[in-house]
C-alpha cells in the first residue's frame, strides 16, 4: 500500500516548524491537503532532543526522542517534516528495536505499549510516493522559467547504522523538473550549514553559509530550495548582503505550483525577500492576497 492511498497520517512537526518556520509548516499542510492527505498532529509531542542533547548526553537524547514514539497513534504512519527530527526519532526507534530491556523500561516510563510496527515517514518519502502516482503531471509547467539550486543539507546523511535508510537525493530535482523548474548541478547539495555554530561560533557558520551561497550563485541559480528549516534559517541569517538570493522551503514551491493556494504571508516571514524574484518570473500572479 502506498502512503498516498493512506490518507490519514499522524504528523510530527518539531520545534522549528512549530515556531521559527511556521511558513514551512503551513505550506506543507496546504500541499498535502490539496491531495486529500490529512495530517493529525501527534498529541503533546516534545522536542526530539535536537543536536544539543545527543552532543552531551546520549541517554537523555534517547529518552526525549522515544517519548514521541510512544505518543504516536499506533495505527498510522507518522510523517516527520524536519530531517533532523527524523534522524533523532529513527535512531531512537532502532535502539528500541534492538533492546527488549529498553522497550520494557520505556513501556513503564511512558505507560503505553511499545509498538514495533510504527512506521516513520520523512516528507520526502511521501512525496516520492505521490510522484510515482503521477500527481505532478497535472501540475506540469507551473514553475516554468525558475532556476533553482537543490539543497538537501546534512541531516539526510546516513551514518553506518542507518545506511539502509534512503536519503532521497535527486527528489527535489525530479519534482522541480516535473513542475517546469530547472535545477543546477552544484557541489554543495548536502554541505552542512553550520547548525548551532551559527549562534556559538558565528564566524565559522558565516564562512560555510557564504561558500554555499556563492556556490549556488556561481552556477546561475536564482534561488535555493531547502528541505530543512534549520538550513533555511542559517542561510538567511548568516548570508552576507552581496551573496543574497532567496531561499525557499521545498513545500513553499510545491504549494506555489498549485492554483491559488500560495499565501503571500509566507513570504513576509523570509529574511531575504523572495517576492521580487517571483514577480519577475510571473509566478506570483495567481496568488491569494496577503492576510488570507
Amino acid at each position: 500500500m502506498t502512503l498516498v492511498s493512506q490518507t490519514n497520517l499522524s504528523y510530527f512537526p518539531g520545534c522549528s516548524l512549530a515556531t521559527t518556520a511556521k511558513e514551512n509548516n503551513a505550506s506543507l499542510h496546504t500541499f498535502v491537503d490539496h491531495f486529500g492527505v490529512t495530517l493529525t498532529e501527534v498529541d503533546d509531542w516534545n522536542c526530539c532532543g535536537s543536536s544539543s542533547t545527543h552532543s552531551v548526553n546520549s541517554e537523555l537524547a534517547f529518552s526525549l526522542a522515544a517519548r514521541n514514539l510512544f505518543q504516536a497513534p499506533p495505527d498510522k504512519p507518522m510523517l516527520i517534516a524536519c530531517p533532523g527530527c527524523f534522524l533523532r526519532l529513527k535512531h531512537a526507534q532502532k535502539e528500541l528495536a534492538g533492546s527488549k530491556e529498553r522497550q520494557e523500561t520505556c513501556e513503564q516510563q511512558f505507560n503505553r505499549p511499545y509498538n514495533p510496527d510504527l512506521k516513520l515517514v520523512h516528507f520526502f518519502e511521501l512525496l516520492a510516493d505521490m510522484s510515482k502516482e503521477g500527481i505532478f503531471k497535472e501540475l506540469g509547467g507551473r514553475l516554468n522559467g525558475l532556476k533553482i539550486a537543490p539543497y538537501y543539507g546534512c541531516m539526510l546523511a546516513r551514518p553506518p547504522h542507518m545506511n539502509k535508510e534512503k536519503n532521497h537525493h535527486g527528489l527535489i530535482e525530479k519534482t522541480m523538473a516535473a513542475l517546469g523548474a530547472e535545477s543546477v548541478y552544484w557541489p554543495f547539495i548536502s554541505r552542512c550549514c553550520g547548525t548551532f555554530l551559527s549562534v556559538s561560533r558565528p564566524k565559522i557558520a558565516e564562512k560555510q553559509v557564504n561558500r554555499i551561497m556563492q556556490g549556488a550563485i556561481a552556477t546561475g541559480a536564482e534561488c535555493i530550495v531547502t528541505a530543512c528549516a534549520m538550513c533555511h534559517l542559517n542561510l538567511e541569517i548568516r548570508c552576507l548582503p552581496e551573496n543574497r538570493i532567496p531561499i525557499f522551503h521545498f513545500s513553499e514551491l510545491l504549494s506555489l505550483a498549485l492554483e491559488g493556494k500560495f499565501s503571500r504571508s509566507w513570504l513576509k516571514r523570509h529574511l531575504i525577500d523572495p517576492a521580487p524574484l517571483l514577480e519577475e518570473k510571473q509566478l506570483i500572479n495567481a496568488l491569494v492576497p496577503a492576510g488570507k
Partner: protein, 199 residues
C-alpha cells in the same frame, strides 16, 4: 647492518615526543568503542573524514588525528581539544568513511566523556549553548529559541553582537515571544530525573 634512525623533529620543527603506551591505552579505546558502537581498529587513516569535514580547517586537530590519539591512548589530549566541540554531528565523515567508522558518534562519546571527567571544554561557548537548549527542553519540553538566545548571550556576557539580527528576526516574526509547551511536563521532568541531570 644498518641501524634505523628516527627523526628528532616533526615536519613543523617541534621536537618529537615519544608516546609511551601502557594498559590504560586499551581501557580508553574500549570506553570509546563502547560509547560509539564503532571499531577503531578499522580506521586506516585514509583521511576521508578529515577531507570531507566542512569544519576541519577550524579544528585544532583533524578528525582522523583524534582517532589516532585514541588508538595511542592519549586520553587527555583527545578530551581537551577543540575538535570534539566544533564537530556539529553533520555525519558527513560517518557517511563517507569507507570502513564504516562512525566518527561523529566517536565525537559524541568523547564530548560526553570530557563532561563526565570535568575536563574544561576547549569551546566553552558551544557547551554553554548546548546547556541553554537542554534547559529550554527541561522547562517546556520544546525549544524556545528567543529564550535560548537570551540565556546564551547572558551566560557568554556578549549581549550586543547580533542585536540587529535579533531585531530583523523579530520583525519577520521568526522569534516567538512565548514558548510552545508540552502539556504533560511531569513526563519531561521524569525523563530528566531518570537521566541524572541535575536540572
Amino acid at each position: 647492518m644498518r641501524t634505523q634512525t628516527y627523526p628528532t623533529e616533526t615536519i613543523t620543527g617541534e621536537p618529537v615526543q615519544p608516546i609511551e603506551l601502557d594498559h590504560s591505552a586499551q581501557n580508553f579505546i574500549d570506553q570509546v568503542e563502547d560509547l560509539s558502537h564503532s571499531h577503531l581498529s578499522r580506521c586506516w587513516h585514509c583521511l576521508t573524514c578529515s577531507g570531507g569535514c566542512p569544519f576541519s580547517e577550524d579544528m585544532d586537530y583533524m578528525p582522523n588525528a583524534i582517532i589516532r590519539m585514541i588508538q595511542f591512548g592519549l586520553k587527555e589530549k583527545a578530551l581537551s581539544c577543540s575538535t570534539i566541540w566544533l564537530c556539529v554531528g553533520c555525519n558527513t565523515c560517518s557517511m563517507e568513511c569507507p570502513n564504516g567508522v562512525d566518527v561523529a558518534a566517536i565525537m559524541d562519546g568523547l564530548r560526553q566523556m570530557a563532561i563526565q571527567e570535568k575536563i574544561p571544554a576547549a569551546e566553552p561557548g558551544i557547551l554553554s549553548f548546548h546547556n541553554a537548549v537542554i534547559d529550554s527542553i527541561a522547562r517546556y519540553g520544546r525549544t524556545h529559541k528567543l529564550e535560548i538566545m537570551m540565556r546564551y548571550k547572558l551566560a557568554s556576557k556578549d549581549l550586543f553582537s547580533d542585536i540587529d539580527l535579533g531585531f530583523r528576526m523579530m520583525s519577520r516574526r521568526k522569534l516567538d515571544l512565548m514558548p510552545s509547551k508540552v502539556r504533560d511536563r511531569e513526563s519531561i521532568r521524569n525523563i530528566f530525573k531518570q537521566n541524572q541531570t541535575d536540572r
